[in-house]
Subunit: 376 residues, 2 copies
């Protein structure tokens, strides 16, 4: 994997770059829709391509439990299983183990948990996390980390970053000492932890940086902490992490969160907000978000967003979408999701363009203020 920074913004830490993966070149800053179970909910691969999506995130925890990593390998890997031939990043499964499953035991060796699907017992170690991701075949794999709840004590967080560091080393060794299952290389990103404690984030970011991973993620944020705290921790991390490596802020966020984080030097994002919100009827526009189920849209012949070029906005009215939600029609979920994902992709494209033209800070500030006013 190669990463090249093409343009650096003069007024912020924002940068525009290119990431070359086994499944093609992608431009950063980049947003990855979440394809938890081998599909971005309600969208087919061709819908994703049309929305401009270049890279997806897959959830190792879900895929490992159902249908199973070796099952997916029998189909030729996740790309072929889901018919997506562009880049994929998978997480290590850690986050879902700590948030979804019944956690049984965590020690230096690894973590034991019970499946949220059937209560079956499983163990995940750093080595196994890499083996599973070798079976799945993403372009970018993630190290296994301990995901702290928010809030956590400083003492627990101090202990935790040591564990995350040891696990990162073991993942690195497993990665270096194992062959890809398919005929292409897979990169490995490490994850900075440390909760909201600056000194712990410094230690974690510094120690991981010394290991020279191909890329780095900032984990453990977007879990309930105030936005200012998240921004401050993010900024601290991007100051320490190697300047020439891609930086991925996991699980972030709203359109405003993303623009703020690009300002702070983040290159990659994933989040369920555009897809999950769409299924609740919440759609994003340049003039704020709105819930399409509202009675106010009953007779509204405008598209969701006049500025949007997606299939939904080019063909359907708010009134029609409201009808579909009101009548529990699946097409409503599909069209709203397609719009929201397209909206995010278009937003990131605008961000890249504004980095190139040199007015990113000004543009993003105006855009964020406009949303904040609309959101009341």
């Amino acid at each position: 994997m190669q990463f090249e920074i093409l343009v650096k913004d003069k007024n912020s830490k924002a940068r525009r770059g290119e990431l070359i993966t086994a499944h093609g070149k992608i431009e950063t800053p980049l947003f990855m829709p979440v394809g938890t179970q081998g599909t971005v909910k309600t969208l087919s691969p061709r819908d994703l391509l049309e929305a401009g999506v270049n890279m997806l995130l897959g959830n190792t925890y879900h895929l490992y439990l159902r249908p199973g990593a070796e099952e997916i390998a029998q189909f030729g890997g996740l790309h072929r299983f889901m018919a997506w031939d562009r880049p994929i990043l998978t997480d290590s499964g850690g986050f879902q183990i700590f948030s979804l499953s019944q956690l049984r035991k965590i020690d230096q060796e690894g973590v034991e948990f019970q499946s949220h699907l059937d209560g079956s017992y499983h163990q995940l170690t750093p080595e196994k996390a890499i083996c599973i991701q070798r079976q799945l075949g993403p372009d970018i794999m993630m190290t296994l980390d301990e995901c702290l709840p928010y809030p956590s004590t400083r003492e627990y967080a101090r202990h935790s970053i040591d564990l995350t560091q040891q696990w990162a080393i073991r993942c690195l060794e497993q990665w270096l000492n194992s062959e890809p299952r398919y005929n292409y290389n897979q990169a490995l990103f490490a994850i900075v932890q440390g909760g909201i404690f600056n000194d712990l984030r410094e230690i974690s970011a510094g120690n991981l940086s010394a290991l020279n991973f191909p890329g780095y993620a900032i984990g453990g944020l977007a879990v309930g902490e105030p936005a200012e705290v998240r921004n401050q921790v993010t900024s601290l991390c991007t100051d320490i992490l190697p300047g020439l490596k891609p930086r991925y802020l996991m699980g972030v966020g709203t359109p405003a969160d993303i623009l703020e984080s690009i300002n702070l030097g983040v290159d990659m994002f994933d989040c369920v907000i555009p897809t999950r919100n769409a299924r609740n009827g919440t759609v994003f526009t340049n003039h704020g978000k709105l819930n399409i189920k509202g009675a106010a849209f009953k007779s509204d012949q405008d598209p969701i967003d006049r500025d949007c070029t997606c299939y939904t906005c080019k063909n359907f009215s708010r009134g029609y979408l409201r009808h579909l939600f009101n009548a529990n029609e699946i097409l409503g979920l599909h069209l709203a999701t397609l719009h929201n994902v397209s909206y995010y992709i278009q937003l990131l494209g605008q961000a890249r363009d504004h980095i190139t033209t040199g007015d990113f800070t000004q543009w993003s500030k105006g855009q964020i203020e406009s949303w904040r006013n609309q959101h009341g």
Copy 2:
């Protein structure tokens, strides 16, 4: 509306034709997927076009109750509301009033019913059925008829065909004496009733034929009667109905039912089977139907049907589809529906081709036997 018969089969009553509607020319025999609430469930208009769909059915009862016929008219009619610019046929609402709603009263004037959605009271008369369909704007409207339950007594059915005949006359007058709401003409088809009683079907088909409607439907079948009875009644009706007018067998059916009915001289079909079955995981193939949720398909790397050219079969395995259903992913419903609709459309295309090449009877017989053997 114009209808032209291009080829007549020598060994059966099958015929190939062309129907020219306000929204374009369509080839018959033709299958119309059902778009009950202004959408064919899980499919967008571009999915339908890609599947080869040329004409849809809309349900007047559902659209009248939600979002409302005048509401749809405010959006420019059903075509624009749902972004479908090819032909649409709407039923009159009668069938759903008799099957879905709480029927309150039926007399010569019309029918009173309670909405299945909110219990609200409504009256539908022949005149109102036409007015509503003028608001919706389909290319083909249907007369209001009384839909008999199966079984019904001969006495009730005798009374009923008189009512259906009177209502057909009132619909015809309302149609002739009202202007289209939009800038194109709408055709009106009458519906033959009479249950499973040959003499009543003869009377109904004969009396309606005398009124010179642009087309005729055979109603009141596919409601539980044996297949032989349905075929016999269908054949009787197509013998009596005007030979140069299109014939539409409402609510039929399985692939085998459709081929049998084409043999009997039917030109148009609609049915929820391909869409509803898809959402239950049942998909159609040239070698019989199968339920994709079955454990047998867990590791199956083949497409649903190797002979099928649809997006689903060109890109996804049975194993992946099984995973999507197993994981309750909406994409599974979408891909299965897309396949089934494509399958029906391809089947009707083959039927038309075989009518042209002169071996329709032989081909359809072989196809039906092959399915019957597979279905056990």
